[in-house]
């Protein structure tokens, strides 16, 4: 049989690149570039160039059940029956809030929609996913000040900006296509690039101004920038007057944050902070983008408020060539949030506590009542599992044992629950603890829609046949719902049917119908209220989506990280990602061409720090924190500032990072904690 090309959307980061899967007899043989795709114009990062994990012998092919003699294969019928009866039993004995569901930013919108619906129809809001570990602060913070948690405009607007500020983010490694196709294109047209963060990343190589700051000092720097902008009259007066509320309060708060104070807190010189501000204020067409370096802090939510406000002073909202917000790390983390796979939100960001919104959704679903208490977030699910309150956990396509900070406690929680189900394509570190493992089809073996970082909803077609008896997540959830006796709420056989329901439930998805999506290369950017609407690239054009219609300033104060260096733990530990490896390495680790190029973790340590500890390139060290130790190889690199060690987290470094939570967003402070290093051997 000849080769077939099927259009798909990349399963890795949030950029949403399109390409073709090349297949023969339903098996993956390679990829082909889609030069017409509006997001990436053909180009792809290394990860998408080798998807041989799809053919890995490690793929799960049969449902597995844990026995005294390890995992044994069982039939789908028995597996679904057992899962349903155990969940029913737990619900009956301990109530619905003793069950928790983890949805997946890797799965389609339709599948996430169904999993959260299942949780809620069962009577619990305990459904969450890894957005909690990444952009929950952005979602909530941007939601408060602008009314919408998502990126305010599209990549094209970033490309048309005259100033691009990249804060706590490294797109050169985490979103290479965004870096190459938009940020560097803007730069080649004369845009200025400013990078703020503790590591001189490959993104910072391309910056006109690099502001090196100690981890966890973002607010001090942002407030100082606003101080300069206000005191020197550099702000967009017309915009602030007309569209911003709370300016006077802000003036009060930022007054004491002089550049010199910011210098003493952050380590970045007052001079460089001023330089950055003058460059930023040189244009009213700018973008301010951030990632985990901003959000994974106990002040993640407040960091977002500070940055969003900084952009508001410059007038960087509501017009082409401006874009503000968080760059999303997973192919469908935006979509999973939109679908309501979050403990406090129903589909379309209706708060579970909002009686009117909740009862609207209840009536669309045909249920009398939906639970109105906020559910448990990902970190809290594991805490409550350890404390004994959560009795059963259902995990769809996530690997919290590697992705969660202080992961030893996640393992304790997983061991303690009475029943754990993991639905995945591989036997992950998390699945090892499961009672039942359900083999899922990978993204290219099924179809559905993904929503990228720009709010762009795109259809990814089915290219391959799943291995063995692996099945699409959608079918697994529907079968489970039937077995649970919830059949009437789950009358679906295809993702199209589910999307048609989503069109009715989520107003901003109302016009994004399956038919339209399948024939539109590059998809549709929400909000798209009707089938005739072309989608909305730029948000907040005339008014913000806040109750007042204005940008609502909430001034914030600097607060040190939960852990600061002391005599026992004198160094700061932060984490980063590398370009060829994706998250917990379950997929990239099984793709030979990428895994051989990025085979292991390397801790980046500054030459001065290394000299103090007598370390040289290639030494093996133990990074010790209050939560444990992590063994890693050293690479001397002056890209990190003195006193900071940066470790990639793909290979399990989250064992030692801090799980102190942001009180607003429940996001753990994975990006900064105190540590020491001990040389081994």
């Amino acid at each position: 049989m000849s080769e077939k090309l099927t259009p798909v959307i990349c399963p890795y980061c949030g950029v949403g690149c399109g390409f073709f899967i090349k297949s023969r007899n339903g098996k993956y043989v390679g990829i082909e570039y889609n030069y017409e795709h509006p997001v990436n114009k053909g180009s792809l990062c290394p990860k998408a160039n080798d998807l041989s994990f799809l053919n890995s012998p490690d793929r799960l092919r049969k449902p597995l059940k844990k026995t005294e003699n390890g995992f044994v294969e069982i039939s789908w019928r028995d597996a679904v029956k057992e899962v349903a009866s155990r969940i029913k039993e737990v619900v009956k004995t301990y109530g619905p809030d003793s069950v928790a569901f983890m949805a997946s930013a890797k799965c389609f919108n339709e599948e996430n929609y169904l999993l959260q619906k299942l949780a809620r129809v069962l009577g619990t809001n305990n459904v969450d996913h890894c957005a909690r570990l990444c952009h929950a602060p952005t979602l909530i913070g941007m939601g408060r000040v602008t009314g919408v948690g998502a990126l305010t405009a599209t990549f094209e607007d970033i490309g048309n900006s005259e100033v691009i500020v990249i804060w706590g983010s490294n797109p050169a490694e985490t979103y290479p296509v965004l870096m190459g196709q938009y940020i560097l294109k803007a730069k080649s047209r004369g845009a200025k690039v400013i990078v703020v963060g503790p590591v001189k990343t490959r993104t910072a190589w391309f910056s006109d101004i690099f502001v090196p700051i100690r981890p966890g000092t973002d607010i001090a720097v942002a407030n100082a920038m606003m101080n300069i902008i206000i005191s020197e009259g550099l702000y967009d007066k017309e915009f602030v007057e007309r569209r911003v509320e709370g300016f006077d309060k802000l003036v009060e708060v930022v007054r004491k944050y002089t550049p010199e104070l910011a210098e003493s807190i952050s380590g970045a010189s007052a001079f460089i902070i001023r330089q950055a501000v003058y460059t930023m204020a040189s244009s009213r067409k700018g973008s301010l983008l951030w990632s985990m370096g901003v959000t994974q802090h106990i002040v993640g939510y407040r960091n977002v408020l500070a940055l969003a406000t900084l952009a508001a002073l410059l007038g960087w909202y509501g017009k082409p060539g401006t874009c503000v917000g968080g760059l999303r790390g997973q192919n469908n983390v935006q979509g999973a949030c939109d679908m309501g796979a979050l403990a406090e939100f129903l589909p379309g960001y209706v708060r579970v506590t909002d009686d009117v919104g909740r009862s609207r959704i209840a009536s669309l679903w045909g249920v009398n009542e939906l639970p109105s208490n906020v559910g448990l977030t990902v970190p809290c699910i594991f805490r409550e599992a350890e404390s004994g309150k959560i009795k059963a956990i259902y995990v769809m396509g996530e690997n919290p044992v590697v992705s969660e900070p202080n992961s030893t406690h996640v393992i304790e929680g997983l061991k303690k629950v009475e029943f754990l189900v993991v639905q995945d394509i591989f036997l992950t570190e998390t699945a090892e603890h499961a009672d039942i493992i359900l083999p899922a089809a990978a993204w290219a073996e099924k179809e559905g829609s993904f929503t990228n970082s720009e709010r762009r909803v795109q259809w990814s077609f089915k290219a391959l046949e799943p291995p063995g008896e692996a099945r699409p997540d959608l079918h697994i959830i529907v079968d489970l719902a039937k077995e649970l006796g919830l059949e009437r709420y789950f009358p679906y056989t295809t993702p199209e049917e589910v999307l048609l329901e989503i069109n009715k439930v989520i107003p901003s998805y109302a016009g994004i119908t399956p038919d339209r999506l399948k024939r539109t290369l590059g998809g549709i950017v929400w909000p798209c209220p009707t089938p005739e609407h072309n989608g909305t690239q730029v948000l907040h054009v005339d008014r913000f989506r806040t109750p007042t219609g204005k940008f609502m300033i909430i001034p914030v104060e600097h607060q040190p990280p939960a852990e600061v260096p002391d005599d026992e733990y004198p160094l700061i530990l932060t984490t980063h990602r590398v370009v060829g490896i994706y998250h917990t390495n379950t997929m990239t680790g099984r793709s030979a061409s990428v895994s051989k190029r990025w085979p292991e973790a390397e801790a980046l340590i500054n030459q001065s720090t290394a000299s103090r500890y007598g370390l040289k390139n290639g030494d093996v060290v133990k990074v010790v924190t209050r939560r444990g130790e992590y063994v890693v190889k050293v690479r001397i690199s002056n890209s990190v500032i003195d006193g900071v060690i940066s470790v990639p987290w793909h290979w399990g470094a989250n064992k030692v990072t801090n799980d102190a939570l942001d009180p607003e967003a429940s996001t753990p402070e994975a990006k900064v904690c105190a540590c020491k290093v001990v040389r081994l051997g």
Binding site: S43, P46, S593
Partner: protein
Amino acid sequence: MVKTLYVDPKLCIHCKACEVACEREHDGINFVEVYLVEEVEASIPYTCRHCENAPCVTVCPTKALYKSDRGVFVNYVRCIGCKQCIVACPFGIPKFLDKFKVIVKCDLCRHRLAKNLPPACASTCPTGAISYVEEVEVTRTKREAEISKIIESVKAAKTLLRT
């Protein structure tokens, strides 16, 4: 004008997408390599230049290496594995493939060119550090970028005068 590979290290972000793509298209061998030079914050993609007056072609005693209008290619049947080309190439490009005892090097993905598709490295490169274009496109892009910067500075100067 004939298209060829242009490499601009100033745009390289060291993602190695080209290496992975090349390896996929050539059964596990990659002809492009990317070198990191952290001290100067640079990354250099390194591949065959497909020279007009190619020393490898000149020294090849069996005409296994030859120059067509598209680039420099190897006829594996003719290659006797004498490795003269390895010495002659100023860029250190030809590799000796022990398994088949022949010389291998970038073939511009000729199986793709035959289908009118550009080489994989240039197709995948996120930044345009590697491009497969005509010379005039390179010069035009450079000129346009420079001119737009001049326009910006003129604009800035005029704004200054006005205020």
